[in-house]
Amino acid sequence: MADTGDDRDVELGSLSAIFPEIQHPHPDDPYTILLDLPVTPSQAVTVFFPGPVDSAPPQGNDGPPAAGPGQRAAVDSHQLAHLPPLRLEIAFGSKYPAEQPPKASVSTSPPWLPAATIKQLEDDAARLWEDMGRDMVGFAYIDHVQQAAERVFDLVDVNGSLEVDPSYKIAILDYDIQARKAAFDKETYECGVCLEPKKGSACHKMLDCGHVFCVACLQDFYEAAIKEGNVAAVRCPAPSCAREREKAAGSSGKKRKKPRTYINPSELLQIPIDPETVKRYVDIKYKLELEADKNTIYCPRSWCGGAARSKKRKKPEGLELAEVEEESGSEDDDIDDGDQAEAEGKSKPYKAPDSLLAICEDCDFAFCSRCRQSWHGEYVLCAPPAEKGQPSAEENATLEYLRYYTTPCPTCSVPAQKTMGCNHMICARCQTHFCYLCAAWLSEDNPYSHFNEDSKGNKTSCYGRLWELELGDGDDVGHNFAGGPVHAPHPAPAPAPAPAPVPAQRVIPEIEEPDDDDDDNEDHNRNGRGRDNHGARDVRAAAGPALEAHADGGQVGIAREGPLVLRIAANRPAAPARGGAARRGGGRGAAAAVGAQQQQGRNQRGGAARGAAAQRGWRGRGANNNNNNNNNNPAGRGPRRREVPDVGGDFVLAPADQEWVRQFVQLALNDQEDILLMMEDDEGADI
């Protein structure tokens, strides 16, 4: 190859010496060279990208793309110091230099350079060759292109701006950033903290103010400051940096009152500062922001203490790196709001929020911002703060509900609420079999004997009551329970129409029904009559003893039902007619009297019956207890059943006295007499 007579070898040799970065794109052709020429204008160029990105595909790039809507062009402009380099490929043919000009081809990536400019540059090779008298033109041509590049090929208009197709925007901006970075890395700076000269690659240029410090010093400084919690120190370490920028901003006539002095988490990560430390920085900054805001509402949960959500600020999310970046992206927009909010906060020490509803941003607890109790709606007056140690009205209501509509498992005491089905329950927690009515243990082998006569003819208080409360116990349970039998196999003797069912709600879904439905049904049928008779009178009859034998063969018997509880069967509880109960029921329960009838059809105990039952309250329950007193019956569990208002009931005491005694006894049995004091106030209104 090395033909000593070939001028091209001489020329390429010197070119390679001048431009050591010359490449040979074709390994088999040593006479084609490739050179990347940087396009670094002597003065920074304002590059603007007219029109929307989707407007004009790169066509000539000569004129401004016509599709650009109006004058929005100049808006999107950037000061660039570096443009993507020019790739110059020169082929020196075999007849070069004597007879053939070098063949040049010019390109850029992305092709931001207009085609006409490229054509002209390429043609310049032949023109120069001619001018040189058809001689070796390689260096002269490269130098010519370099000079043209410095002038940005005369594409810059008088205002120093250059128009480029917007589809290349990202690539061009990226290139500028990279080129600036490369240039920065090569420079040397004196770090103002350690006062040492450092290479740019070991330095960080503050994004806001442009001061340069070495990474090691910034790390030491910021990490120490954040560790101490002194986040105010996390700012540019240059003296009076903020003041200078304030002045600069003021002189440039900008509206912004105060330039930001703190440093974005994303910049800290760039320095780089350890993400854990940055997280701490963000957390502390946010905490300070909360503390500075007099309108901050804190979560009343003692274990939480978070702040209520606010439109003014955004809780920093976990601080994954990506999220930090995102946060910093929106930072600029947020700042004005922040300043505004700050100014507001200063001028108005406290401003009542538009809504009392506050939601903790940490635990999502919804509470009233005035009374700090759980949210009670806009139109409910705030309750007085609960005294320490005293259960709140709400908690009492919960306890009351649990007492009325659940049966504790006799083994593990978990409150169980039946949503539908028979009264043979299996505890979901401990698998104990028990009776839902009286909470007695039931034998796993033959749980239903509890609801039948035993071999000696004894009957428990739950005799024939396997299917009581089949639709579930409590408010709003049972009706829509998927898959459960919801209508009665028996014709209902009392055709009173049941109110529309309310949606099922399982308050304590702890109980599963036994699977053996067949057995249940057998029992059910066998005991049908007795049960119906009972049901007519005491669907919710408690284990209270009846002092008189019931006409229905409700013979008084004693049966052991479980290890601890001695039951005295009572078929006929003395339930007083309770107008008060009906009143308490409000709208839901229709009328207690209707309810009584409906009870006759066990399975028709719909809303009305349940409504009535819901009204039973302390009175109904107490009625039994009142009787129980005489028998020392430990009926603590039993008498929680519902009671049907029974017009034929016996009255022993004046209703008011009964009431009190019932309550007291009932509570005493549960060791809850203290609640009576609280309850008395509520009940008093009803009686």
């Binding site: 103002g192 903290v193 350690c194 006062l195 040492e196 410090f213 090691a216 010093c217 030491d220 400084f221 120490a224 400051a225 002194n230 105010a232 120190a233 540019c236 370490p237 240059a238 003296p239 009076s240 940096c241």
Partner: protein, 189 residues
């Protein structure tokens, strides 16, 4: 480490190219963190002719933490406590204002500027500040008297030898002084 290197540099800078009216010495060669500075009272101020001793203490975290500077020579000035050590109220030395790339030379120049132009709206000695604002003549007389009394002899850096308490100078400032300085300015001389 960074700290010592930087202090060495700054010391070299301050001794080879000292700012006007400022002389820096190192009382103990093995301790870079205590500097003794002699401040010449600025010519066009009431403190002209006086030589004031300053004790500069550089914390181990320097430059991340601000140095503390105290007057070991008593001075009658609204922004310097009228006791020993004389604490200085200087904005850029406050911990929340300190910037790590602030150099000691410029700090010392600020101290000297404070002598030229007291800042009575941010005083450590409220009484002197009041006097400065309302009765400039009396202030200047008192300040000159202090210079004559304390700032004429050889400069002492041991705060305890700053001279006897002056009967003239009532010291309400002792109560208002925030006493941010550590130590008494060092006993090495």
């Amino acid at each position: 480490m960074t700290s010592n290197k930087r202090i060495t540099k700054e010391l070299a800078e301050c001794t080879t190219h000292p700012p006007v009216g400022i002389t820096v010495t190192l009382p103990n060669d093995s301790d870079l963190h205590t500097w003794h500075v002699i401040l010449d009272g600025p010519e066009d101020s009431v403190y002209a002719g006086g030589k004031f001793g300053l004790v500069v203490k550089l914390p181990t975290e320097y430059p991340f933490k601000a140095p503390t500077i105290t007057f070991s020579t008593r001075i009658y000035h609204p922004n310097v406590t009228n006791d020993s050590p004389g604490n200085i109220c200087l904005g850029l030395l406050k911990s929340d204002k300190w910037k790590p790339s602030t150099r000691l030379a410029s700090v010392l120049e600020s101290v000297r500027a404070l002598l030229e132009e007291p800042q009575p709206e941010d005083p450590l000695e409220a009484r002197i500040a009041d006097e400065y604002r309302t009765d400039r003549k009396e202030f200047e007389k008192n300040a000159r008297a202090y210079v004559q009394r304390y700032a004429k002899g050889p400069v002492k850096f041991d705060a305890s030898s700053a001279g006897p308490a002056d009967g003239n100078a009532s010291q309400p400032g002792a109560a208002t002084a925030t006493a941010t300085a550590t130590g008494s300015g060092g006993s090495r001389t």
